[in-house]
Symmetry: C4
Subunit: 213 residues, 4 copies
């Protein structure tokens, strides 16, 4: 294992413990990746079946753009294809993080019929890359969940192309994907989007208040 | 105390701290067991009255299939009989975990009249042994709580026989039982089922959305 | 400072960190006491204004039955009088713990008009001293909050006399008091009652289900 | 970097970890300041973009009353101006803490039309400086959020002048500001106000109960 892969693994382990403490990656859910190189495309990605709260460096694999393991043991997550689609569609992305939180699960279901969730008027939006005001309107697409990764990958590709400014998307009753231009930014995006989803979800429970009514 | 029993105790202690952090075993609630051998049946089980967040190896007993203590001090949990019923009914089970969480308590009560909870359409279901798609329909039986362990044991046996593919069951206003082919799998099942129960419970609060409506 | 008082302080510090992690003693709320002797009555009690999550041994005082400081610096909590009333009314009590949790605050308010909360049918009730079945009916009196400690103390005395089997009481919009025959039992009672209050509170939000309807 | 600034940084780091554990400063949200001197006015303040759960001493800057960096690297938070307004308006304030919690976000939105939140009848109010009874009526102003810091600063100044006894204010869909005569008091105020906002918010969900109805 290269030093680089080991170092990525250690950092992903810290992130896993942080997310696990917040119940965003219960069971062995969630998967994380980091772009090691773009030409050729190489990702460090968590192996299938790893507990994110107890992630060790030997549970990190290096894969190529077809999901073939280049370095490390174990099997990459079935969702590795989605990670590849994301880093292709977002040329500056350096890392992709996928969580299975309660609120992303609930809201993806409630908003499936509309195809997404519109979030506006929260200061926390400024934590998203390139957003300078709470008046920003963020669209978080919700895609139907699918076990056919070729078909789901195509849907992800299309959604990312159709919504070039979206910072995240949800899979229905499944979870959330976000990314960042650095790994630290991807972590920040997870925290921001999770916060906003819970705010939107709990606000709706209380009847909600339209923004700028 | 054998080295094996001590090692099991240390692992159960880690699990206890993890569950305690999530308030799934408050007070001295919950009990855990591991199959030491099948012929004859021997279980390592937490002793009655132990705080699961501060479990020590000397709070683990070895019992036989009648619940008689073979090794270690203290008294086995009154619910040891249920652990025995489970490992008999599920021939591959290597461990049984019982938690007293808030959501299992609430949902067992809400769904008592229907005799169980149907959960379908969640990606998290794939964390259950043998489940390959979110389209899986999981039935979690709810049994009436009972202090008569002979009668409750018979009800557990019957429910497990009637629902051979169920991965867990609830006791009404009491808590959840699950198991796994390894101890790690049993832990994963606890996390998956707890997540799903909270998702179902909070979704119902919001009016719910039928799956594939 | 005697070794005994220091040892009590260390144990109360651990309990404070545990409760603080669960947000039951935010700010500098809550206070804890341990009976050092009965003849004459001497209590070790947390000093006023101490953060329970960062409690140190020098924040523990020894007081007599009038609340006069016998050992240690600082001022005892204004509520020391209530601790004295409790250990007088419950002859076997070895420790008294007072928390300011969210659910005890909410439920004490909702149930103030009825003068108390009836809790029945939960397995967790068996964690209360002397309770052998979930069919137990626990009455948790709710007293009007009061800054006049003489008057409030008299009300506490009267409530404890009128409800000799109650394991805890609430002060309206204030918090919960419980006790135990050992300090460990008092801790267990806090966890059990907090769990039950949250279960009752969340169950009511969902419409509730009567026990044995 | 002076020893004083480093010591302040270490203490703010502890506070950041405490608040981060409670999800009050997710992403890189929130900012903290401490008054180093009043004549001339000098504040130690967290630099922009720092994760409060992983705050290090070199992420603390010294600024003057115009927000110009006097010591340390990095850029002060855009909201430094609000910190300056607060310490000017509250002559005894030694520290200012700003959090982005879920409940302050939700309640600031629900109560925006009334211009504030009235909180009365909670024992926890006694944790606020100078409050001696739960019968105290606290008014927490809610200001419209604004990216124009000059205009927002003026609004903050006006609100603090109009409500000289208020211990905190909220920015709509943004978060909470509070302060204290010591840094420890400011921390206590954060915990008290966060608790009260959650209590008010959850109580309203349950229909609420008027105080002294």
């Amino acid at each position: 294992m290269t030093e680089e892969l080991r170092a990525v693994g250690e950092r992903l382990g810290e992130i896993g413990r942080r997310f696990d403490d917040r119940n965003w990656v219960l069971g062995t859910s969630g998967n994380f990746s980091v772009v090691l190189s773009r030409e050729p495309l190489r990702l460090a990605i968590t192996s299938s079946g790893a507990s994110k709260g107890a992630l060790t460096s030997d549970q990190i694999l290096e894969i190529d753009e077809s999901g073939i393991v280049v370095q490390g043991g174990g099997r990459p997550s079935a969702e590795a294809r989605l990670h590849v689609e994301i880093v292709r569609a977002r040329a500056a992305a350096a890392a992709v993080l996928h969580t299975h939180s309660l609120w992303s699960t609930l809201l993806s279901d409630q908003h499936a019929a509309q195809g997404g969730i519109e979030i506006e008027g929260y200061e926390m939006l400024k934590g998203l890359d390139g957003v300078a005001s709470h008046e920003h309107r963020e669209w978080i697409p919700v895609l139907e969940n699918d076990q056919d990764m070729v078909r789901l990958g195509a849907n992800v590709r299309e959604a990312l192309a159709r919504h070039p400014t979206s910072h995240a998307f949800l899979l229905r009753r499944h979870g959330m994907y976000t990314w960042g231009n650095t790994l630290a930014e991807a972590v920040r995006h997870v925290e921001i989007v999770e916060f906003l989803l819970e705010a939107v979800g709990r606000s709706a429970q209380r009847g909600g208040v339209p923004w700028r009514s």
